[in-house]
Every structure is written in C-alpha cells, then in structure tokens.
C-alpha cells in the first residue's frame, strides 16, 4: 500500500494509507484514550466517541479509531477542543455510573477512572440519574455489575466473534439498553463457558474476576509471565502475586500462542496452588500408616531400598514413571536418573496412554512424531479435517483457531467423530463413524481420491516411497464397502474425499480418538498416508497435526522419558548414541529397550518389578483396567511417589515426596506445536515441598552420583549439548515467545513447520494398512460401545481441577452420556442413576441424555474417582506403540431402581 505523510501533534510521520488515526498515533507513541475500540482484535465500532481528535479542515471531530489517514492530513489529539468534547462524553457516561471507586475492584485499572482523572471531571453537568441493575453473581468465576457497564460492546465482540460462544448480546434500547446473557438470564444459566475473555476486555468494573475480589488492587500485585500447565496448547499468562500468594491470573497480550485468550482452566483454575491439603512434608509409610519424615530420612530410605533391590534382582527390577506435568528439565533428569543411576531403560510416562501411537506411527512414516505445523497456521488452512478430537473442550484455544478458520476465513471443516462434538456446528460435513473403524474410513477416502485421479502425483513421485503396495490395499476399500463397516454414507465419503484432495491446503487435526485404540498406530499411519497422497504435508498451513493432551507431554517425549529413546528420539539401541550418553554421564548404559507403562505395571503385578519411582503421575486413575493397575501398585515392593496432593497413586506408596506446582519452579515445557516455553518461579515452594528437579538431584547425590545444578537453565545447557533437536535452546533465547524445535544451534530461529523439502527420515513412507476390528466388540451380554474422554472443566484424573472450587462447582459429578433412543429403551431419564459394567468392573453415575452420543454408544469422562471410567476400559494394547484401547470396549447399562 502507498505511504502517506501525516502530521500528528506536530510530529511528522510516514505511514501506510488507510491506517486509522488511532493506530498511527500508537506508532508515534501518542496515547489516545479509547473505551470501545480494540484495534489489535479488529474491533472498531466507533461508538464511544472518547477517541475523538481534531483533523484540520474538518468541521467536526473525528473518531480516531475508525478514521483513516490520508496524504497531508494534520491531526491534533490533545487540543482544547478534543479535551472539551471528551469531557462532555465523559460527563454523559458519569450521569448514571455509580461513583464508588473506593471499593471497586477495577480501581487503578479502569479506563473510565483514568479518563475522569486526566480530564479533571469531578461531577457531571447533566446531573445524576440512577442506574441500579441487580448484581449477577451466579457464575462461580465472574461477577457482572451491569450498573457499571458503559456499553462499549467489547464483551459482546469477544464472546461472539473470538470466543464464539454467543452467550452475550446487546439487549433492549434507549435508556434500558443493557448487555444480556442468552435470553436475559443469569450468566450461570446461559451458554457461557466461563472463559473470562469478557473480563479481560471490559474497560470498567462491570465484569470482575470473582475469586480475586478483595485480594488486592492492581498496583499491589507483581506479575510473572508463565506458561499454563493444564493442556498442550501452551498458553501464556501472568500470575498476579501479592505477599507470596498467587491471587489471580491475567492475560498477557504478548503471548504468541494465545494473545489475550485463555480458557476457564487457565484463567480461573489456579486456586489449587494454595490448597490446605497440599502435601507439606515427606511421608513414610510405617505399618500401613503414613508418618511425617525429614527429607534426609526419606532420601536415605529410598537410596537403601533401590540399591538393595538393584543388587538382589538387577537393574531391570526397577522402573520409573516420569510426568507430562513436570518440566523438560525434570523429565531429562529423571530419565538420566533411571538410566545412569538405576541402570535401566524402564522409564516411561503417560504419553504411552495418549499419543505413543502418534510417536510410533509418524516416526515410521515421516521420521518424527509431532505436529507438523504451528497453531497459528490452522486458521490459514483452506480445509480442515478434524477427527477424534473434541477440540472445544480439550484444546480450547486451538478450537478458537478452527472456528476462526471457518467463520472468518472461509475454510471448510470436515468433522469425523462418533460424537456430536461442538465443532460439528461449524462443519461442512460430519462423518459419524462407528467407534474403532477409522482405518476403514481413511482407506475409503483415499480410495475415492485415487479412483477419481485427485492424488498429488508429483508429490508422490518425488517425496515418497511404498506407494504401489499401499495403493493396492486401498483400492479394495470402495466407498460402498466402507459404508458397511463405518456406517458413514458412501456419498459423504466421496464428498469429504473431494474436499480433502482439492482444497489448496488441508490441515488434518487429530487427537486421542485416533490414538487410543489397539489399531492406534495403524490409524496414525493412515493420517500420514492421506496427507502424502494429497501432497498436504511439508508445507505451510497444511500437514498432520496431532494435538497433545497434557501441558508437557510433548516435552516429556522429547526429553526421552520413553523406554526406547534418549532425549531427542535418539535410540537406546544405537551404539553411537549410547556411547555419547555414556561418555557425557560417565557411566555404562544399557542398550536394551525398557518396558512401557502398562508393561511396567504388568511386571509389577507379577513381582518382576520390585521398586518403582513415580513422579507426579496418577496411574491408579489414568490407566486402563484400574483394578488390575491398582493391584499391581499394591504388589510393588517399594513404591515412591512425588506429587502435590495425596493422589490415588500416592495413597499406595511407601514413600511420598511433596513436589511443587508450576508456580513454584523454573523450567521449560514444550507445547503441542513443539514450542519450548518458560515457566517461571512465581512464589517460594510451600511448606517443606521441593521442586522435582531438586528432589531428583538430591536423591542422586545420596545414591552416590554427582548431579548438581544451580538452576534449571544449567540443565537445559546439558540437554542442548546432547540433543540435536534442542541444540539451540538456551534460556536467554526463550524470553519472548519461546522456540519451536528442531532448533539445532544457537542461531537457528526454530522451525515453524516440519518436513519442508525433505522428511526427517528422507522420503515419506506409505504404509498399506488393513482395517481390524476393535479388541472388544459389543455382544448380547455387553451391548453398548463404551468410549471415554474429557470435559472442558476438568483435567486428566481430576487431582488438580477437582480441587479448584469453581471448576468443581460447574461440573461436580461424573455423567454417563447416552443417546435419547437408548435412554428410552433402558427407561432411564436425565439425572437418574445407572450402573455401567464391563467384563472388568462396574461403576455408578447419573445419566445425561444427549444426541451427542450416537445410538449404542455410551460416553464418560475419566476425571472422577467416585466413578472411575477406567475401571471399565480394556487394557488390550496396540502391538506397536503399546497404547491401550481407551476408546472402545463393551459395556452393559442398567437403571438402578
């Protein structure tokens, strides 16, 4: 665009034509007050008139947030005339605004107050009316005091255009105008999902963070930018701290992944940090009861026991479970502890249970198992194929990008999911496959693409291998055959295939609905196949994008908390790799691949694993076939657990060590788009707790191995030296925005999307994959398919979220979702109790009757200990990645009279 010359408050400026005066002023470092506009978010309604400026030659003042600059324009932003005009606006606003700044939560951070101060407005020449609207305190996180609302419209914009929840709108008119939720109800009973986005943009005290009320004024807080520890999106925000306590979370606009956006867990789910029931001291179990102990006693006992077991039964009778909730540095240290000190590769973590099939599948096909693209690229794709991911609830911020792609950028969305997830509303096509038939569905799509000649021949020829064999297999999966297997109409399969193949860029996004099957690796191979077939990988905005669940599940894998890899996916069986680590760590290492999570527990069950260290994981809730898993933990001769709360697993331990929350330690975590970001120590560790990295070091020292770092940054230096993909990651480079791996050296800018000219393994490899039935199918006795997942308000096994008052208030109990038809046949109604039983166990919970579940399919989340879904699930494993089949098993449902 053309550049024009403007003069703004006597400052000469060259700037792009069409920029608004407001933005031009920002560039010139001049602050024009605004109440309604949010130019960074593209919101410029021009309604509040506070931003008025004088433009020479123009009879009236212009609203700077909407008025575009042109050649030669001369602007005065703070002239007497603008001052007077702003005063009038302000006085009009103040006629019915409660003047109770002394007790208002917004005091010190309120645009209205700032303006009144700046313009010296003490009272309104228009007198005082009275606006008294009832306070809405129904939502556990948000207080709405609409008497203070200045009707700027920001919250409505936020809720409808960015969050796209559509809970808010402007209602009524004239003097009765107000912001309404749904049909003018209380917020709690509206569509509102409590993301708090509206609070983040409200310029006044009309929308307030309920739980931060009375905890202090904005100027009393110090702010520490950190990374959210709930999910793999990797949002950043500021912890606000006063007197050593985290009192609230506020958006930090500088966050690369999320901007000011956050979900309910990130923004409001921090109150677990200061819970009374945090573990405060080490505990040692004596005669079946925990007794408080000193760190010294605990370390000594662990050291003695592990040494003894190693001597008696060999290194491989010991094992370690690392954690996707801990930092990269901690995962690295714990795998080092396992390999160098215990001498075993029996180290794994819960990624085994969510995405090991991704790591296995994509490593075979492409050479590395991570999201090929960045989160921000999602909104730029011309088509999105979403399968096995309830993104709105599990990766809320990524869901915003998907919605943006569809509603703002015209992308076509295809959803393939047995459940009617929220994003189906945005979909061009919804394919409702029978659970467990994904391979058939993918093969059907690819069949259509090949028979209609829509494949990317050039890409296939130049960048891939194994095509012919793959093609022969796929050709047998005609849409008609696939319709029979999956239940998806052949016509829809054809339509979807055409969209996938013909859109300029198609981004495939998947999550645990694809991975958690006995055919998990096969499913993942199919995602790679279809991407290569259509040339949709190795390019910007298009690729294969597995969404990783926990905040640092990507990092825990990257750092080698896996039985077959050191950090950076370097194979334990590779002699040169082994030698490298051996030399760096100064010990001999094993070249035998270790056991995976489920195998470790099986071995413990059989008495082959005698000693187990579990860092901040909860297999007694998260693993499939819980009765078996719990028994295995009970049988483990010596079990050490570090965690922040007495989890179901910690209860079974011999020694419990109090770890800390992310607020109490430094480190890095890696989000689902491979972005390594900082978490920063905000407060001191509570009571006698210690950061896990320190615990591991001290225990190592006790066991006679020198492991000593002053700060996690030093651990990262060691990681960088030994791990090519993290080679350029240094703390001093992470301050703004982090870095995306691969980042091989200190000058490398990081990698936005993978496999650009070459796949990590050279050529991409097609795999011929045949459809196989799920391990357990419904039969007469167990007629329903049972499938599991998560809900927005909780995380993982609920250890943390169920300790957050508000989150638990919104979603307090487990619900069994069943289809209305099934409900009728079972004669159960919404809210009635049922018993759900599989061959392995049974649970009781209330019923939620919903179209979200297909007929014959029962859904439950696994967050609740009182009805742990995993008592029912099947521990049948995928043969390659050893991931258990959480997504399909057979159950029966009975009403409890």
């Amino acid at each position: 665009m053309a550049l024009v010359h403007i003069t703004i408050d006597n400052q000469k400026l060259e700037i792009e034509e069409g920029t608004t005066i407001l933005e031009a002023a920002q560039k010139a470092g001049i602050k024009i007050p605004t109440l309604c506009a949010m130019p960074e978010l593209g919101f410029k309604p021009g309604s509040c008139r506070v931003c008025m400026v004088e433009v020479e030659g123009l009879p009236n003042l212009a609203a700077s947030c909407v008025y575009p600059v042109r050649e030669g324009i001369v602007i005065h932003t703070h002239s007497e005339r603008t001052r007077q005009a702003r005063k009038v606006v302000l006085e009009l606003l103040l006629t019915d605004h409660p003047l109770d700044c002394m007790t208002c939560e917004k005091n010190g951070d309120c645009t209205l107050q700032d303006l009144a101060y700046e313009l010296g407005v003490k009272e309104s020449r228009f007198g005082r009316g009275e606006k008294k609207l009832p306070l809405d305190e129904s939502n556990p996180f948000i207080v709405r005091d609409l008497s203070k609302c200045v009707l700027c419209g920001r919250c409505v914009e936020m809720c409808n255009e960015i969050q796209q929840t559509y809970a808010l709108n402007v209602g009524y008119r004239g003097s009765k105008t107000k912001i309404i939720a749904d049909g003018d109800s209380d917020l709690r009973y509206s569509e509102c999902v409590s993301c708090g986005q509206c609070i983040a943009v409200c310029p006044v005290g009309a929308l307030i963070d309920k739980n931060a009320q009375g905890k202090g004024r904005t100027w009393e807080f110090s702010r520490v930018k950190t990374t959210c520890n709930y999910c793999g999106c990797g949002c950043n925000f500021d912890f606000n701290v006063k007197e050593g306590k985290v009192v609230k979370v506020t958006s930090n606009p500088q966050s690369v992944v999320n901007g000011i956006n956050l979900c309910v867990k990130g923004r409001f789910g921090y109150d677990y940090i200061h819970r009374e029931d945090r573990l405060a001291t080490p505990l040692i179990k004596k005669k079946g009861k925990f007794e408080e102990a000193s760190w010294e006693e605990a370390y000594q006992l662990i050291s003695d026991k592990f040494t003894q077991i190693k001597r008696e039964s060999g290194s491989d009778s010991l094992a370690v479970l690392s954690s996707a909730k801990c930092t990269n540095e901690e995962n690295y240290l714990l795998m080092k502890f396992s390999r160098a000190i215990l001498g075993t590769n029996n180290v794994d973590h819960c990624a085994r249970l969510c995405h090991s099939s991704t790591v296995a599948g994509l490593a075979q096909a492409f050479g590395s198992g991570a999201m090929t693209n960045s989160i921000k690229e999602i909104a730029e794709a011309s088509a999105i194929y979403l399968t096995g991911s309830n993104t709105t609830e599990n990766h809320p911020i990524i869901a915003l990008e998907i919605k943006k792609a569809v509603t703002k950028k015209g992308a076509k969305l295809i959803v393939a999911d047995p459940r009617e997830i929220e994003l189906v509303k945005y979909a061009t096509l919804w394919l409702r496959q029978r659970p467990g038939t994904d391979v058939a569905l993918f093969n059907g799509l690819m069949n259509v693409i090949i028979t209609e000649g829509l494949e990317d021949k050039e890409f296939i020829a130049q960048r891939t291998e194994g095509y012919e064999e793959f093609k022969n297999t796929v050709l047998r999966y005609t849409p008609e055959v696939v319709e029979k297997i999956t239940g998806v109409p052949a016509e829809d399969i054809k339509k979807a295939a055409r969209i996938y193949a013909t859109a300029p860029t198609t981004s495939l996004i998947y999550s645990m609905g694809i991975t958690q099957h006995t055919t998990g690796t096969d499913n993942v191979l199919c995602t790679a196949n279809i991407a290569m077939l259509t040339g949709n990988v190795g390019k910007e905005n298009t690729g294969v994008n597995p969404l990783r669940g926990q905040s640092n599940v990507q990092g825990a894998c990257d750092l080698g908390a896996l039985p077959n890899f050191y950090s950076g996916y370097q194979k334990v069986t590779d002699t040169s790799v082994k030698d490298k680590f051996s030399k760096a760590w100064g010990v001999d290492l094993s070249d035998q691949e270790g056991l995976t999570v489920v195998e470790i527990l099986n071995a413990a069950y059989e008495g082959k694993i005698r000693g187990l260290f579990i860092m901040a994981e909860n297999p007694a809730m998260s693993d499939p076939d819980l009765n078996h898993a719990r028994e295995a933990l009970k049988r483990t001769e010596f079990l050490v657990v570090s965690d922040i709360f007495m989890s179901e697993t910690a209860e079974l331990a011999d020694v419990v060590l109090p770890g800390v929350t992310v607020a109490e330690k430094d480190g890095t975590i890696t989000n689902t788009e491979r972005r390594v970001q900082r978490v920063r120590k905000t407060i001191e560790p509570l009571a006698d707790s210690k950061p896990e990295w320190q615990i591991i070091c001290e225990l190592a020292q006790k066991m006679g191995y020198k492991m000593n770092y002053n700060h996690p940054g030093e651990i990262m230096e060691e990681i960088a030296q030994l791990t090519p993909i993290y080679g350029g990651i240094h703390y001093n480079r992470l301050d703004d925005g982090g870095l995306q791996w691969p980042c091989p050296d200190a000058h490398h800018p990081g990698t936005k999307y993978l496999h650009k000219d070459k796949f990590s393994r050279g050529k991409g490899k097609f795999f011929a994959v045949e459809y196989k039935e799920a391990a357990e199918l419904p039969d007469e006795e167990y007629p329903f398919i049972f499938t599991t997942g998560r809900v927005l308000y909780h995380f993982h096994t609920g250890t943390i979220t169920r300790r957050s008052k508000g989150l638990n208030e919104i979603y307090p109990e487990p619900l069994v979702e069943i289809n209305p038809q099934d409900a009728e046949e079972l004669k159960v109604k919404e809210g009635e109790l049922v018993e759900v039983a599989s061959r392995r166990g049974k649970i009781r919970a209330k019923v939620q009757v919903t179209e979200k579940s297909g007929k014959g399919v029962v859904f439950m989340s696994f967050h609740f200990r009182e009805a742990a879904a995993n008592l029912l699930t099947n521990a049948a494993l995928d043969p390659v990645s050893k991931i258990p089949e959480y997504k399909v098993c057979a159950v029966k449902v009975q009403k409890i009279a």
Partner: protein, 155 residues
C-alpha cells in the same frame, strides 16, 4: 402452530426472524415470547439465543413476560405527548391500579407505552389490541374500559 411449523412456513433465514417472532407472540394466549419457545427457535434457526433476544428486545412490541388479554398501548411520541399522553397514563393507571409495564391481577389488562401510532390527527391516541382510539379524554377512556369489562363478565 408449533415453533417448528412457523419456522418452516417462513424458512429459517435470518431475515425472517422478526416475522416469525411476531407470529409466535400473536399465537401465545398471553401475548408474549416465552423462554421455551425462544430456545426451540434458537435451535431451529441456528441463531444464538442471545442474538434472538437481543434483537427482539430492541422492539417495544415484543414482550418476554405474560401480558393481559387486552394490551393497552398509549402513544408517547411528541404530538400525543404535547396533547396530554402523560395525563392519559395517569387516568388509566389509577383506573386499573397498575403502572406502565404491569398487568392487572385478573390477567385482563396490560399497560404499555409505544411510539407514534400514525394517527396523530386524533392525538392523544392509544391502541387496545388491534383497535385504535383517538381524541382521548378521561370520560372516553372510562367508557372503553367499562365496555370491555362488561363484555368479559358475560363470558
């Protein structure tokens, strides 16, 4: 007609929303838009509830609370205002014992203000349901209300 049927009749395009709301309200015995109906409407038209109510509440002709069988709407626009609308309000308020926006306990009358009815020539004016009345005086109002009462008591 059910909500579904009304939507079907006009089509679920957004531009038909006002017409549909109108029909919905008119067929309601208490002449208002009830919450249940609006929720179904939101489903059927795929328009968020907040949007529907935001739109509807802008117009004074829509009500979200049950209204009386006879809806009295007094014109508040300038010509009527100048010629005594405030007094008309007072008269009716005292006769019926209700304030603007309220409904008599027997569910017979609701009193509302409205903008110009297009019969300024006979200001001050009001409408009761579909019937317009002009050149209002206290006496005339009494007559009108009494007639209605009488008719109703015979039912």
């Amino acid at each position: 007609m059910t909500v579904k049927e009304i939507v079907k009749r006009y089509g679920n395009k957004r531009e038909n929303l006002l017409q549909i709301l109108h029909d919905l309200q008119n067929q309601s015995p208490q002449k208002y838009l009830n919450k249940k109906d609006l929720e179904i409407l939101s489903e059927e038209m795929k328009i968020p509830l907040s949007d529907i109510v935001g739109t509807a509440s802008f117009y004074s002709m829509f009500s979200f609370t049950p209204r009386g069988k006879y809806l009295i709407r007094i014109c508040e626009s300038p010509p009527c205002h100048l010629l005594g609308a405030p007094a008309i309000f007072k008269v009716i308020e005292s006769k019926l014992g209700i304030k603007e926006g309220e409904t008599t306990p027997d569910g017979l009358f609701t009193l509302e203000g409205t903008s110009c009815l297009g019969i300024c020539g006979v200001a001050p004016a009001m409408m009761i349901n579909e019937e317009a009345y002009g050149n209002l005086t206290e006496e005339k109002i009494s007559q009108i209300l009494d007639q209605i009462r009488e008719k109703e008591s015979k039912r």
